[in-house]
């Protein structure tokens, strides 16, 4: 849950990149680190990878100051995808304001995606998040690879869910990465505005909020 530190005038948000192992969560964060241009941009922290695998989590902090003097701090995290790191996933997911679910588009990964999605739903419940209300964007990554589910197939499966539309991406090519974060910030904003009355008290519209963080 977002926290507003009245003393320092800092509102901190937490977004988590979730998904099965090797679906490209860290690649998404790395691409964003190069693509976004907010006023304040921290270094990307990669907590030890072994054979390209995240052991704890990755962290990319950024932020901007609103015209009213409020510092919006956004922290992006990835979770480790492998099944055995479930405790770490729960620790990272705890208090998240939104989730980007990075699915692997390859057709042989459908079951792994489903498993991870169900794990997300279960873990959200365990750490006290209401999964039905949790802002969530689904990204189908690796569109540049062969043997992937067609966009039609993905649409068939997802268009009747609350998470449609999904984003098609190729994180290595930096495609769809910004769109994913953009969409997630759009979906996160209403809850934030309701809780911290961003428009009324801080004169921060949804457009200013998104563009301030993406640096566009």
């Amino acid at each position: 849950m977002a926290e507003l530190d009245e003393r320092t005038g800092r509102l901190t948000l937490k977004l988590v990149y979730y998904g099965p192992a090797m679906s490209g969560k860290t690649t998404n964060l790395g691409a964003l680190h190069e693509l976004v241009a907010p006023e304040l941009k921290g270094d990307m922290m990669v907590l030890e990878t072994r054979n390209d695998r995240t052991l704890f989590f990755d962290l990319f902090p950024m932020g901007f100051a609103t015209s009213g003097g409020l510092l919006i701090q956004l922290k992006l995290y990835t979770v480790p995808g492998q099944v055995e790191h479930d405790s770490t996933r729960k620790a990272v997911l705890s208090r998240a304001d939104g989730v980007a679910f990075i699915a692997d588009s390859r057709s042989n990964q459908s079951y792994t995606n489903l498993e991870s999605f169900e794990n997300l739903a279960a873990n959200a419940g365990r750490v006290g998040l209401d999964f039905d209300k949790l802002p969530l964007v689904v990204q189908f990554n690796k569109r540049d690879l062969p043997n992937i589910l067609s966009e039609d197939e993905v649409q068939q499966r997802w268009q009747n869910t609350p998470w449609w539309p999904v984003v098609f991406a190729s994180a290595l090519q930096h495609q769809g990465v910004m769109e994913t974060l953009d969409l997630l910030l759009q979906r996160v904003y209403p809850a934030l505005d309701e809780e911290f009355s961003l428009v009324k008290t801080h004169q921060l519209s949804r457009e200013a909020f998104v563009s301030g963080l993406l640096g566009q």
Partner: protein, 418 residues
């Protein structure tokens, strides 16, 4: 789903404790020690060629002009205060940020590791708690089960007892039927004798009257056939006395069977009991079975007389029933080395090994349905064992059976008062 954690706890169950923040807002002091900061200040001073001070963000006074922010993530945690040219100072601040960044890697990993370990421990405790609860539940179930088994056992024992008693009654009923016949027989001829005796007495009375009236004794004697009347009356009286003696005997023997429910022990002479039983079985023998007794006098022993009578009678009954047409039964007893040996031998049909192996099994019977409960020998053995006795059956098909019973002589046992 294949994640084993899913199965361990249902999806709806929340963690018992909130997870600590894995990315806390570190201060300068969290990331570097005073000594490390001092060493860095010294090195920066050398590089910048002028004094360089690192001031913690919370100690920063507003009147210092020439300061450069040092950020951790995106927020300043310290300031570099130096008179060095701004280009060099900014480079030095960046360098310091790199140091903080590297220092934070270890801290973040440590914090994350700690959070995960705490959570795993918490999970374990929850699982342990659940195990304890389920163990307690099963223990309680086990106790309940024990109670129910005991109740059932009680029920079965009660029913067994009832069947047992019914078997005893059935043996007594057979005994009663035989005895009734045996008593009826003498009663019949006693009654008939008495009627004859009554008419003989009337004739004698008339003869006496005639004599008183002065009739010749010879004529009177001839008229009334007094010689025959008196002689026959004597015979009738003797027969009647014999008959009464037989009934008396039967009643006395039957007394042995009375008081089965009191089970009080008393001094018993085994040869007398056997004598009684043989006598009572007499009506069963008809003319076809020859019963021989070889009963030596033995020492008295303390026994539940009624129960032992029942047991021995049942064994004798088996012997009688094993003889289809004609045959012999031999009943013997003798004492040797403070033990009393009883043998009941018959020339009946005998038993094969298979039947022999099952004779003590409750409800096992070779008799037609309805004529025996199959508890006879079971009850017998229980009674004999209750008196520290043993029973052994030797048999061959077609060669009859031999039942050997032994009782120890327990001398001078004080009679129980029950």
């Amino acid at each position: 789903m294949t994640d084993s954690d899913f199965k361990a706890s249902p999806a709806t169950e929340k963690l018992s404790k909130p997870i600590s923040d894995i990315d806390p807002d570190f201060t300068l002091k969290d990331l570097l020690s005073d000594k490390e900061i001092e060493q860095l200040e010294n090195k920066l001073s050398v590089l910048l060629n002028t004094s360089a001070k690192i001031i913690d963000a919370c100690d920063m006074a507003s009147d210092i002009n020439t300061s450069y922010p040092i950020r951790y993530q995106i927020c300043p945690v310290a300031y570099l205060v130096t008179e060095a040219p701004s280009e060099s100072a900014k480079a030095a601040a960046n360098l310091f940020e790199s140091v903080l960044f590297q220092a934070s890697r270890y801290r973040l990993a440590a914090v994350a590791h700690h959070a995960v370990v705490l959570q795993d421990f918490d999970d374990l405790q929850t699982k342990h708690q659940r195990l304890m609860e389920s163990e307690a539940k099963y223990r309680e179930l086990a106790v309940q089960l024990e109670h129910r088994v005991q109740e059932q056992v009680g029920q079965i024992e009660l029913r067994q007892r009832q069947v047992y008693e019914a078997e005893k009654l059935s043996a007594l009923a057979q005994l009663g039927a035989g005895v009734a016949h045996e008593i009826n027989n003498p009663l019949g001829f006693i009654q008939s004798n008495m009627n004859s005796g009554k008419s003989y007495l009337r004739e004698i009375d008339e003869a006496v009257t005639a004599l008183r009236q002065g009739q010749n004794i010879t004529a009177v004697s001839e008229n009334f056939d007094l010689d025959f009347v008196i002689s026959d009356l004597q015979t009738l009286m003797k027969e009647t006395i014999d008959g009464v003696a037989r009934v008396t005997r039967i009643v006395r023997d039957l007394k042995g069977f009375v008081g089965a429910e009191t089970s009080a022990r008393q001094q018993v002479l085994m040869h007398e009991i056997l004598e009684s039983i043989c006598y009572l079985s007499h009506p069963l023998l008809e003319e076809r079975i020859e019963l021989t007794r070889e009963l030596a006098e033995v020492s008295p022993i303390m026994m539940d007389k009624a129960a032992v009578c029942q047991a021995l009678y049942a064994i004798l009954l088996n012997a009688v029933q094993s003889i289809e047409n004609t045959g012999k039964i031999l009943v013997r007893c003798h004492e040797q080395n403070h033990r009393i040996f009883i043998d009941i031998e018959d020339s009946g049909c005998g038993m094969d090994t298979k039947t022999l192996g099952r004779i003590y099994e409750p409800f096992f019977t070779t008799k037609p349905v309805g004529s025996g409960t199959g508890l006879g020998l079971t009850v017998c053995r229980d009674i004999i064992q209750a008196h520290q006795g043993t029973i052994k059956v030797i048999s061959q098909p077609g060669e009859g059976s031999r039942v050997q019973i032994e009782f120890p002589v327990t001398a001078h046992e004080p009679p129980e008062t029950n």
